[in-house]
């Protein structure tokens, strides 16, 4: 059932219920006020009859030839009146043909207890009757006066008829109005839905038109456009990543293929072939590293739990990482110093932490001038920048090389970004090292920052949450 149909039905049922309640209340009010008017008339007439009885004997009862027009106040001519003895004998009767008493014996007994008002059908006419006991000097009597209720009955019947005829069209109109109004209100929603249906993953710039109404529909369109913006950005990032990854993979593949193709040409010496195999193996290594890096980034992007955290001491990891680079550093005439205060316990994936440290120390050793020292330090600290006083383990790697180019710093941790394109490619780096460091740090709910030391040289700082139960 559509929202439109439901709302129209609610409108119709609601108005029907309202009309029924209001109609009933109106009819009840009409009935009571008409009854009250009749009753006060009866009281007046009773009083008049009593007065006449007191003044002398009543004239003989008039026959019922006085029935006529019922308009206006009840004319005296058609008044129904009887005077009864307490036993029920008719003393005086007017306005009716029969001579029997208007009260039954039971009603006579009731009148003894107080005035009695009831409605009776007498000679085919509905009458409102008031019977009351009259205390006369000589002997008691019972006056019975009646007025026809037909005027009141007609009024009530008309009111009921008016309600019965008038209500259905009003209910229908309410339902139709609800249907039309809801349709008008929902039309922009329908337009929006059709527009959204047309948008495919290929038109990343498609947006919903925002109506200038400033209402909920406009707000929905704005929200939807925000969502489309975010999706388009994510898609663009994904496409750029795929394109960059393809480019980076092609570079070693080109070299590998060219190397093998050249080696396959006739007339190669044994040494040349051995060189070619070594070079091809180097290309294969590069491809493997690149594939692993890309896989790590892709897994982190998926948000899959790619970490296997355990409690490790970063202090020993820093020393181990420095040892891994000892020979490379020595070959370049670079020293590595490690300063670690205490255990530096964290809960982290040992393999990933090693990878991050290797990337940082490898970068530093590569850029450090001969004779300089790469400084690796680790200590407990309080989180810098919005960490809310969290306890962290901070690791900093600093070299005394040229530092990061200023324009590179804002995108240092973006993928496929090299501080120096030419040098980076000569070194075989794909520009993923720092991006991977950042990904690993963020996956551990840590932070990472890159900058230049005031006295020269690049420095990168990672903060990982400290082990809460060291």
């Amino acid at each position: 059932m559509s929202l439109r149909l439901r709302l129209a039905a609610i409108f119709a049922f609601g108005s029907a219920a309202l009309i029924v309640v209001a109609g009933l209340a109106f009819l009840w009010q009409l009935h009571t006020s008409l009854a009250a008017a009749l009753d006060s008339e009866l009281k007046l007439r009773t009083a008049a009859l009593a007065a006449r009885l007191a003044s002398g004997p009543l004239p003989p009862g008039s026959p019922a030839d006085q029935t006529g027009s019922h308009t206006g106040q009840f004319p005296a001519a058609e008044q129904v009146a009887q005077v009864l003895t307490p036993a029920g004998a008719v003393v005086y009767s007017s306005g009716i043909e029969g001579t029997g008493p208007l009260l039954s014996p039971a009603q006579l007994r009731q009148v003894a207890g107080g005035p009695l008002t009831f409605t009776a059908v007498i000679e085919g006419e509905r009458l409102r009757v008031l019977a009351s006991e009259l205390h006369r000097r000589s002997r008691p009597a019972i006056t019975v006066v009646g007025v026809p209720t037909d005027v009141a009955d007609v009024a009530q019947a008309r009111a009921r008829l008016a309600l019965l005829i008038g209500a259905p069209p009003v209910v229908l109109a309410a339902g139709l109005g609800g249907w039309l109004l809801t349709g008008a209100a929902l039309r922009p929603v329908g337009r929006m839905r059709r527009r959204l249906e047309e948008i495919t993953e290929h038109d990343a710039n498609a947006r919903l038109p925002v109506p200038a109404t400033g209402d909920e529909i406009a707000a929905l369109a704005v929200t939807m456009n925000g969502l489309l913006d975010r999706l388009a950005r994510a898609l663009a990032r994904q496409r750029a990543f795929t394109a960059d990854a393809g480019h980076e993979l092609r570079t070693p593949l080109t070299a590998l293929r060219a190397e093998l193709e050249l080696a396959a040409r006739p007339g190669k010496s044994r040494e040349a072939l051995a060189d070619a195999v070594r070079a091809a193996a180097g290309d294969a290594d590069r491809l493997i590293r690149l594939a692993e890096d890309l896989l790590l980034l892709a897994r982190a992007d998926e948000g899959a739990a790619f970490l296997a955290p355990e409690r490790i001491g970063l202090s020993s990891e820093l020393h181990a990482a420095a040892r891994r680079f000892a020979s490379t550093a020595a070959a370049r005439g670079v020293a590595i110093s490690v300063q670690a205060a205490g255990q530096l316990g964290v809960v982290a994936d040992r393999g990933r932490v090693r990878q991050a440290l290797d990337n940082l120390i490898g970068n530093a050793v590569r850029h450090a001038p001969p004779g300089s020292t790469v400084e690796v330090s680790g200590r407990c600290a309080v989180a810098t920048g919005g960490g809310g006083g969290r306890r962290v383990v901070a690791v900093e790697v600093r070299d005394h090389g040229p530092g990061f180019p200023r324009e590179f710093l804002p995108r240092a941790f973006e993928r496929f970004q090299r501080a120096d394109p030419a040098r980076g490619r000569a070194d075989g780096g794909a520009g993923l090292g720092l991006a991977i460091v950042a990904t690993i740090a963020h996956a551990h709910h840590g932070t990472v920052a890159a900058g230049n030391h005031p006295s020269g040289g690049a420095r990168v700082r990672i903060e990982l949450p400290a082990d809460p139960w060291p």
Binding site: R257, D283, P421, R425
Partner: protein
């Protein structure tokens, strides 16, 4: 045959040098754009193998720079990006051929042979003649700095004239090149369109460059004459 390899990735550059040398080319390697432009300006190469991704200025800028300096050595572009937009941009910048990495040496050699066979005539990406300039890639034409609003037929006609500056083009030749084989319209359509073209190319500037050679056809003069 002397070939310049422009490639910043040392390993690929080394392999290209080795492969091309083994094929009998003499090879120079440039590692960035300015180096490449300088070498092509100083020495005469029979072909240039140009990587698109270069540090600093990319291969497309290098190619444009070479052409603007009047260096017409055939350029074979190499790229690790094989998307359509990059290929189109590369060829429109004045490159002669395009090869995606990873490539096969056999294909590279075959393409180089074909390029060298064609020689190095002047073949600018933008055509110029006496104040007129036309870019077939963007389909724009200018008189001086003023851009000309041309219909497709007028554009094709102007391009034909600019490709043969100073030559007399007969009506038949124009009809053959600008209208297709099935054209079966009025015989004076060439005169009609040359008239339209003059109204846009010459008359508003008060000059006569597109002139009638009585009894033969039309000619685009190398230098425009004042209208008279």
């Amino acid at each position: 045959m002397r070939v310049l390899v422009v490639e910043d990735e040392m390993r690929t550059a080394g392999l290209l040098r080795r492969g091309l040398s083994e094929e009998g080319y003499s090879v120079d390697v440039a590692v960035d754009g300015p180096d490449a432009v300088w070498r092509v300006s100083e020495f005469s190469y029979d072909a240039v193998v140009l990587d698109v991704m270069l540090p600093g200025c990319d291969g497309i800028e290098v190619c444009r720079e070479l052409r603007s300096r009047g260096r017409w050595a055939p350029v074979l572009m190499l790229t690790a990006r094989d998307d359509l937009a990059a290929r189109v941009r590369g060829l429109d910048s004045g490159a002669d051929d395009y090869l995606a990495k990873p490539f096969s040496f056999d294909e590279l050699f075959a393409r180089l042979r074909a390029l060298i066979r064609r020689g190095a005539p002047e073949r600018p990406a933008q055509l110029r003649c006496g104040g007129l300039r036309l870019d077939p890639a963007t389909r724009q034409a200018w008189r001086g700095e003023a851009e000309l609003e041309l219909s497709p037929k007028e554009f094709a006609l102007l391009e034909l004239f600019l490709r043969h500056p100073g030559q007399v083009l007969t009506r038949t030749r124009i009809l053959e090149h600008v209208w297709d084989y099935t054209y079966d319209g009025v015989s004076n359509v060439v005169d009609q369109y040359v008239g339209y073209l003059r109204r846009k190319v010459d008359r508003p500037f008060g000059i006569t460059q597109l002139e009638t050679v009585r009894g033969v056809g039309y000619r685009l003069r190398a230098a425009p004459a004042a209208a008279g």
